[in-house]
């Protein structure tokens, strides 16, 4: 479990550093893999029925295979597009992530001192906040999608930790929603590429007031 946390934190920090879209997607997939392993670990520690396996399997299908696959297919179409932003933004996101990690640990210490899953709770808070910071600080549509998935993963991990998995129907629904969300976002991004010739979201500032 501790290794998982270390890997997770590593991947998240890596994610704040990448500007290349393909690598970002790969980061996302590996992050999801870690989440899936965590799912199995937590699931088997509580029981042996279908409910223990289900979250992990679903995570693998949806978040490891399908979502990165879909985004990756999109990224392949966006040839030689890099996130053309100054390094400062990247540095800011990394710094923010570091800050969030400290904050997460501080929060956990305050709220639930001496609990078992301290590290993993802190990691999930890190993921939530980093996902948000990716959405706020970065401009590429793809990176924003990655941020959204990271945020979702973080919340999911936190939920898994707190409640040992949501009720089955709800769990299925959540995965379905994430799936549809990514499909919608991928459609939107490819349309964006067609009509704006770029996937830089900072061009979309016409609607205001």
């Amino acid at each position: 479990m501790d290794y998982l946390v270390v890997f997770l934190v590593l991947v998240v920090f890596l994610q704040t550093r990448v500007t290349d879209l393909k690598r970002a997607v790969i980061c996302l997939a590996s992050q999801s893999v870690i989440i899936a392993i965590a799912c199995f670990v937590i699931g088997f520690s509580h029981g042996n029925d279908i409910h223990a396996v289900m979250p992990g399997v679903l995570t693998i299908i949806v978040k490891v295979i399908f979502i990165p696959g879909a985004v990756y297919r999109l990224v392949k179409k966006l040839k030689n597009e890099r996130e053309i932003v100054s390094a400062s933004n990247v540095n800011y996101s990394t710094m923010a992530a570091a800050l969030f990690l400290v904050m997460g640990y501080a929060l956990v210490e305050r709220l639930m001192p001496g609990s078992v899953g301290r590290d993993i709770v802190a990691a999930s808070i890190l993921m939530i906040m980093t996902g948000l910071s990716l959405m706020v600080l970065r401009k590429r549509a793809i990176i924003q999608i990655c941020g959204l998935i990271t945020l979702e993963n973080g919340i999911y991990l936190l939920g898994l930790l707190m409640t040992e998995g949501l009720p089955l129907v709800v769990e299925l629904g959540v995965f379905l929603d994430v799936l549809i969300a990514v499909v919608v976002l991928v459609i939107l991004t490819s349309r964006m590429r067609l009509s704006f010739m770029t996937t830089d979201t900072s061009v979309m500032k016409k609607l205001k007031g």
């Binding site: 948000l132 706020v136 924003q144 979201t201 900072s202 979309m204 205001k208």
Partner: protein, 662 residues
């Protein structure tokens, strides 16, 4: 079923003109007007029974849903005003409305009926909820009527201003009703009378109510919509708005003051009185400066509502000083003046409509000599103008005399020197108002109807069709009737406010009043006799000395006087403008256009505008501020999705902190 409910149904029937087939527009118009005449007649007729009964009457036995209808003497008085005005103005509108053939005349007829219906509904509402509904419908319908000629930009902006102001007024009234109703835990007027509102909240409720009703009746800082809305509306609509709708505000305020708030607090009445006096004077001052006939009348409405409210406020003060019997004269004054103002203003707005119909203009500077072209209209307008400048034998004097009497009573009872000083102020204001009003209507009548034609638009003027004249004539007859035999109206109105106790003696000879240790008498008969004597003497004197009589053209330095050399309306009001320069702040601009001749004679262009004090100093800055601050507010939404997500985060953090702290 009560007659009143029947009349409501007839009004509704009249509103059918909305969906009348377009081919039979004229029939729709006639039908609508007939309905409104019949229903208003019914209203006037059945209002008498409420006037004479001392209790309130439930109009529908079983409350339908949350709506109740009820009438008592106070509403009876206003129902009478509404009914009479409704009948007469609808008669006038039969011919006047034809001018709108082809431009939504069906909507005009339907809205007219709805307008009258909503006014009647306001007057017979038995609970605050029904009252507010009826009040809002009245506002909405009158707004649509003002907006009727919406092709004109000016009309649209006037209607917009009217709607905004009246909506704010309604909001204020709603606050007042909410406060009382939440204290009484019921919307019914009867329960609301027994509210247990605390002193502070009572003051708040009073101020909101006064603000709201003052706005609707056009008292001074809040009058701003009135001089714009009245000219923009069709003339019969402005007649009804000015003649009746403004009084409905008095009705509401009276009900609020009598029934819900009580009049125990001294300064309530004082505020009403002072605001009334100020608007009376300023109203007539602005009226004298205007050249647009309908704007003159609109400002004159401000003046008269001011007089009415000052009388009412005086009554409230007297009541709070524990002289309920003496306060009757003041309340009677308010009611009588309200009734007579409704007649006079109805008449004059209708005759303004006639003038517009004949000449196509409202500007009196372009008129002159209309009396020769349209003698009957001129005669009736003269009667109306006389009444508004409170000449004897007209109803105008009755109300003003009573108002004066109430001030005198107040002066008698005023204990402290400060109060006496206030009464002196009141006398001065009222006197100034009366004198200026006289000047104002001499000016209006003289410039428009007498003298020689100033422009060619007068040439094509013609006498009015029958129904328009009939409307004018009816109003004129009523004005004279009330002026000559005031006892009927005064007794009726006195019953409303005093119940059974009678303090003003009215008989066919005149009104006598001995409330405060001395006697005062207003008797048209005696005045008539005195005037007759003087007249006879003068005639005798003139006849004895009449030796020769010649007719000559006015000497004009050897040239023949042209019509442009007549006294102009702007010139007429010049002395007054000079005197009140500080208040009026007239903006003069003289431009030398060009030299016509090398040695003498230059073309001048002279522009004079008198901006409304409150418009310039209060409303425009407010409007500017609203727009500027709104535009700068747009910066928070600049289109960046990151910032939007950031807002969500900020909100989240704020809510979390809130949760931790509380």
């Amino acid at each position: 079923m009560d007659f009143m409910v029947l009349s409501l149904l007839i009004y509704l029937l009249g509103a059918v003109t909305f969906i009348w087939p377009k081919k039979a527009e004229l029939v729709a118009h006639y039908f609508g007007m007939l309905c409104s005449i019949a229903a208003s007649g019914l209203v006037a007729f059945s209002s008498l029974s409420y006037l004479l009964s001392s209790d309130s009457v439930w109009l529908i036995d079983m409350a339908w849903g949350q709506y109740t209808l009820q009438a008592d003497g106070w509403s009876g008085a206003f129902l009478l005003i509404t009914g009479v005005a409704g009948v007469i103005i609808s008669i006038y509108a039969i011919d006047y409305g034809k001018g709108y053939l082809g431009s939504r005349i069906r909507a005009l007829g339907g809205l007219w009926n709805l307008f009258l219906m909503s006014i009647v509904l306001v007057l017979i509402a038995g609970d605050a909820f029904t009252f507010i509904i009826a009040w809002e419908i009245m506002a909405l319908v009158s707004f649509l009527l003002v907006n009727h000629e919406s092709e004109k930009k000016k009309t649209v902006s006037a209607a917009y201003q009217y709607m905004v102001m009246t909506h704010i007024g309604t909001a204020a009234i709603m606050v007042a009703f909410y406060l009382v109703a939440s204290a009484a835990e019921s919307f019914s007027f009867i329960d609301m009378a027994n509210n247990n509102l605390s002193g502070y909240m009572k003051n708040v409720a009073f101020l909101f109510a006064f603000g709201g009703f003052a706005l609707k009746s056009g008292l001074m800082p809040l009058h701003i919509w009135l001089p714009n809305a009245h000219p923009a509306a069709p003339s019969h609509v402005s007649a009804l708005m000015s003649g009746v709708m403004l009084k409905v505000a008095l009705y509401g305020f009276g009900r609020f003051a009598f029934q819900f708030i009580g009049m125990d607090v001294f300064w309530y009445g004082l505020i009403v009185m002072v605001v009334g006096l100020i608007s009376a004077f300023l109203g007539v001052l602005y009226a004298t400066m205007e050249v647009d006939m309908k704007r003159i009348l609109a400002y004159s409405s401000v003046e008269n509502m001011g007089i009415i409210f000052s009388a009412f406020g005086c009554g409230m003060v007297l009541y709070s000083m524990k002289f309920p019997m003496l306060s009757v004269v003041a309340f009677t004054a308010a009611l009588v003046h309200a009734a007579s103002h409704s007649l006079m203003k109805g008449l004059l707005f209708m005759s303004a409509g006639c003038v517009m119909h004949a000449t196509g203009s409202k500007n009196i500077e372009h008129m002159g000599g209309l009396a020769r072209k349209m003698p009957y209209t001129a005669l009736f307008t003269l009667i109306g103008s006389m009444a508004l400048s409170s000449m004897p034998f007209t109803s105008g004097l009755v109300g003003e005399w009573l108002t004066l009497q109430s001030f005198i009573t107040f002066a008698q009872q005023a204990g402290s020197p400060e109060l006496r000083l206030l009464v002196v102020f009141a006398f001065i204001m009222l006197g100034l108002t009366g004198a200026t009003a006289l000047g104002c209507f001499v000016r209006m009548y003289g410039i428009a109807f007498l003298g020689r034609a100033r422009t060619s638009i007068v040439e094509k003027a013609h006498e009015m069709p029958f129904f328009m004249l009939a409307g004018l004539a009816l109003e004129a007859v009523l004005i004279i009737f009330v002026g000559v035999m005031p006892d009927f109206l005064v007794n009726l109105m006195q019953r409303v406010v005093s119940g059974s106790g009678i303090i003003l003696m009215g008989n066919p000879l005149g009104i006598m009043w001995g409330g405060s240790g001395y006697y005062a008498l207003y008797s048209p008969a005696i005045i008539f006799i005195v005037f007759a004597f003087i007249g006879v003497f003068m005639v005798a004197a003139v006849y004895r000395s009449s030796t020769f009589q010649t007719k000559e053209v006015t000497w004009n330095c050897g040239t023949v006087p042209t019509s442009r050399q007549q006294y102009s309306a702007t010139g007429f009001s010049k002395p007054l403008r000079r005197a009140f320069d500080g208040i009026l702040n007239p903006k003069r601009r003289t431009t030398y256009l060009r030299k016509e001749h090398a040695y003498f004679g230059r073309k001048l262009h002279y522009e004079l505008s008198i901006p409304d004090l409150f418009n310039d100093k209060l409303y425009r800055p407010l409007q500017q501020m609203l727009i500027n601050s709104s535009s700068s507010f747009h910066r928070i939404q600049e289109g960046s999705v990151s910032i939007y997500i950031g807002y969500t985060m900020v909100a989240m953090i704020v809510v979390l902190i809130w949760g931790v702290l509380l």
